[in-house]
Symmetry: C2
Subunit: 404 residues, 2 copies
């Protein structure tokens, strides 16, 4: 087992976590040779050896001694340039940048195939839960029916504060930011994009199919109001931000990210605070549930370290399911049941939606709601209008009695 010499891009919360864990883990045979940061002038903790720092990516990319690059920078475009350049040179890369990976995965897979490099990104998907590698290695796609879960720790933390501690949304968001669970600009988390990118990656490894993030209906929790929260409480439910990919027939599947009413009998009901939880449902093994910390520097760093260890043993994703015959195709031609709450000013927008069947209607002078069946396709077409500040949309899962 030879030593891995690591070039690290990024020294934020996760980068520092990696630096500190690699120091601790005696058996990894891995060491950090160089660290590329945006600014050399920024103050760093004392444990960081300053002679490792550089602000020139080439100091890592051109170093023939470095045989693994870890990329944990914020900027998706810069991350893409670094990762694709490294793969073009056949260097192995571990990345936690879900936005970049979800947008560029087909090209990144091609680069791995052409140049023999390997890209691992288990850390990108559920913090410390090994979802990607399990889907890749363990679950055979014929038997896989559904992957569904809470994939974003920050929004889940906020919803937990609101539901379990009765806090108001704005205060919960501030608290999440103070604890480091949400970024200064939290829109990525609370508008559902973080969950979306993870779902796109999960789907590649679950079903062998890449779906562009732009084609997937994504709705966040930004517009949730006390009316929605009160209604959920009255029905003894919580509202959670849920991402799911579901086989709807042998030859097709659908996927979306949406707030959802969750009943106490479901596994994900008890996934609270910054935790993530994923339910994998199969034909024979029924449901499996994996649960762990989904936000924070250390869980992510530890997951990255697992990818580093995997590289010590030359592990690579093989994307086997992409080569299977009879892969299912993505469809938005499925009917969902949704709750839509709206202010009087938004009435026209909501009334214009092509509901297949309206099941409940509530009207008051401050807000109204409908519970209705609607094709997913129609939600995608109306997504801009549905983002109005006075509208909140929430999925009502079809089979309330199912444990998922």
């Amino acid at each position: 087992m030879s030593t891995i010499k690591i070039g690290l891009f990024g020294l934020g919360t996760v980068g520092l976590g990696i630096y500190s864990i690699i120091g601790k883990a005696r058996n990894t045979h891995a060491e950090i040779s160089r660290i590329c940061v945006r600014s050399l002038d920024k103050p760093r903790p004392a444990e960081v050896r300053s002679e490792l720092l550089t602000d020139r990516p080439a100091d890592i990319l051109d170093d023939p001694e470095i045989n693994l690059i870890i990329e944990v920078i914020d900027n998706a475009d810069a991350a893409y340039r670094i990762v694709s350049e490294a793969l073009r040179r056949g260097i192995a890369v571990v990345s936690g940048n879900k936005a970049m990976i979800a947008r560029h995965l087909p090209e990144l897979i091609e680069l791995q195939r052409t140049h023999g490099g390997a890209l691992l990104y288990d850390a990108s998907s559920c913090g410390s839960i090994p979802v990607i590698r399990n889907l890749e290695e363990y679950y055979d796609n014929d038997l896989l029916l559904e992957v569904k879960g809470i994939l974003n720790g920050s929004s889940n933390f906020i919803l937990s504060r609101v539901f379990d501690h009765g806090e108001d949304y704005a205060r919960a968001l501030r608290e999440a930011q103070e604890l480091g669970f949400a970024e200064a600009d939290p829109s990525f988390d609370i508008e559902g994009y973080d969950s979306l990118f993870k779902l796109v990656i999960i789907t590649v490894h679950a079903l062998g199919v890449y779906v562009s993030p732009d084609d997937v209906f994504t709705y966040g929790i930004t517009t949730i109001s006390s009316d929605d929260i009160r209604l959920a409480r009255e029905k003894d439910m919580k509202i959670k931000l849920v991402a799911q990919v579901v086989k709807v027939a042998d030859e097709s599947f659908t996927m979306f990210v949406m707030p959802e009413f969750v009943a106490p009998s479901k596994y994900i009901y008890s996934v609270d605070n910054e935790y993530n939880g994923v339910v994998i449902r199969g034909e024979c093994y029924d449901r499996q549930f994996m649960f762990g910390k989904g936000a924070g520097g250390f869980p992510t760093a530890s997951s990255i370290l697992s990818d580093v260890t995997a590289r010590l043993h030359n592990y690579r994703y093989e994307y086997k399911k992409m080569g299977y015959l009879g892969r299912p195709a993505y469809t938005t031609d499925v009917e969902l049941r949704v709750y839509i709450r709206f202010t009087p000013a938004d009435t026209a927008t909501v009334e214009a939606l092509p509901f297949t069947r309206v099941r409940e209607r509530y009207t008051s002078d401050t807000h109204s709601y409908v519970i209705a069946d609607i094709p997913l396709r129609a939600l995608i077409e109306a997504r801009e209008q549905l983002r109005a500040p006075g509208i909140f949309l929430c999925n009502i899962p079809r089979f309330f009695l199912d444990r998922d």
Copy 2:
């Protein structure tokens, strides 16, 4: 990807499940070529093609076309003969026989190394939860602190009926047998040996150390009484049969199987009925929880099929952690806090135990109990005496407030 031709040993519940799933799974490139059974005369379901059946092991072992053996027979000695002979011939084997594997693992590892065959046994450990492969591939041992869980579905089903449905123990046991969750001879499950064998296998993949089952303290639920159940209920706890391997220092770990008082805040508290749940605790990722069906033909068969799929990609356990420097050593020199309930006739036995400190004592004319600290070593020395029908022993985890 070439086709795998399978020789199947055993056509009980699990064997039939495998036969049926392999028929369904279109992408596995696997087919069953031959099935060795104990008796050709036994009636089989109509779907079983009778021309595949044989009662001569050599019809499988000597067939050069067969490149994978699945062994799912009851008898551990016969299983050992088949598996070791197949490995000696360099044939790959998938087995679910935990007793056999736990007893012979060092030799079976050696046979794989010498003859180039591979033995996979994820199905042996937690039904459908991919614990072994995750420990082998994902969790680096420097960071791993503890693996703890409910590993036996049958005893957990019984305890769930007793605690959640107020049934008496004998009726719950009968029900488990009727539902196929417990064998006709249930001692393997309820005396803790099934959990023990799984724990021995898990420890090899968690810490890289093999500990013989004979050296591990194992105590089942056979002698539980309504007094114990009432006490647990009064304290708002459940009693669960828990297996655990725990690092107690950098260079040592301990392990045991014992009933345990479990508080509602713990993950395993809500693992009910035939389910298994495993908590993996690490230094950086905190706790991860995996949960799934742990008993029954289909979950086990599906897990075996995952091993078959892994073989399609030439996967093998590498037992990497066994080669690590500084592996921790097994120790029984740790202090536990236990509850021991006993009848007046057993007083002398219990009083003779070398408690370090007695914390509570309760005496009545029908039964008494002590809560006391005692070295694990002392429990091992007294294990025969502690199996008296009038005695029940239950672990009290040190840190009640911990979520595990």
